[in-house]
Symmetry: C2
Subunit: 154 residues, 2 copies
């Protein structure tokens, strides 16, 4: 019974920590590179996908975002020449996104800074602490019909 309340407290802590760190990383990205964290996420997903690129649908899945959102968020990246948007010749319905050279170069710089910021945020964590945190987070039960329940992004 009071366990319910403690679970709610843990939930509020989780939301608070995640929000605060996300805001801080987003602000740092904008200040240093003029790009939001959401756009960085696109670059990161495409970098992992390699020179093959990703279909719009798959990109949306990896970003855990709707397809409409993917269309929107990639548009300015394409305009800036960081991402290339090509139509699949085999199936003209599908659009493939892939990192441009310029996008790759920018991503490398952004990712390095990102690692630094995150390492600093977790500087008080031992490797065991990190493992424990990740284990606990993976123990959270997502309601059955929940959006993105069961997905695992590395």
């Amino acid at each position: 019974m009071s366990g319910d309340r403690d679970a709610v407290r843990a939930w509020l802590d989780l939301l608070g920590a995640s929000n605060a760190l996300k805001k801080s990383v987003d602000a740092a990205f904008r200040a240093e590179f003029g790009l939001s964290i959401s756009r960085f996420d696109v670059l990161a997903a495409l970098e992992r996908a390699g020179r093959e690129g990703l279909r719009a649908r798959d990109l949306s899945e990896r970003l855990m975002v709707t397809e409409g959102n993917t269309t929107q968020v990639t548009a300015p990246l394409a305009v800036d020449g960081l991402v290339e948007r090509v139509s699949d010749p085999d199936d003209k319905r599908v659009v493939i996104y892939r990192l441009s050279k310029k996008g790759e170069r920018l991503f490398v710089r952004m990712a390095a800074r990102h690692r630094e910021w995150i390492a600093r945020a977790f500087c008080a964590f031992s490797p065991a602490h990190i493992a424990t945190l990740r284990k606990l987070l993976s123990t959270i039960e997502l309601p059955a019909g929940s959006p993105a329940a069961g997905k695992d992004a590395a």
Copy 2:
């Protein structure tokens, strides 16, 4: 060095867990009560504040949100008669928000369901697990000039 990567993995897990659970709770609130999680947060903050209510500025602080956002998110709640918005007679610049009777009644129902959902999400956690998770989350270091660094919402 590989510790940096692990910290990033933990960070991605944190963001993912928080996002997924938030989406699920938001969807449930909308389906069952027609209110978003953000509006529920307003009701919760005002309920804690009691019949005194809260100045707009203080409400924004508790919600960890800008004042412009507070103005926007409270507006439909006031229209629906869930929140009362009164001008402070002592200082006509300040606006005070407080829960209406109707808002109180709705909040009680929403909070009960909220506890149920969260308890279910954390059903695999022992009290010790909960405590460990909260301890670890509080160990995350927010960059100095970061928005809302040092704030603590219970």
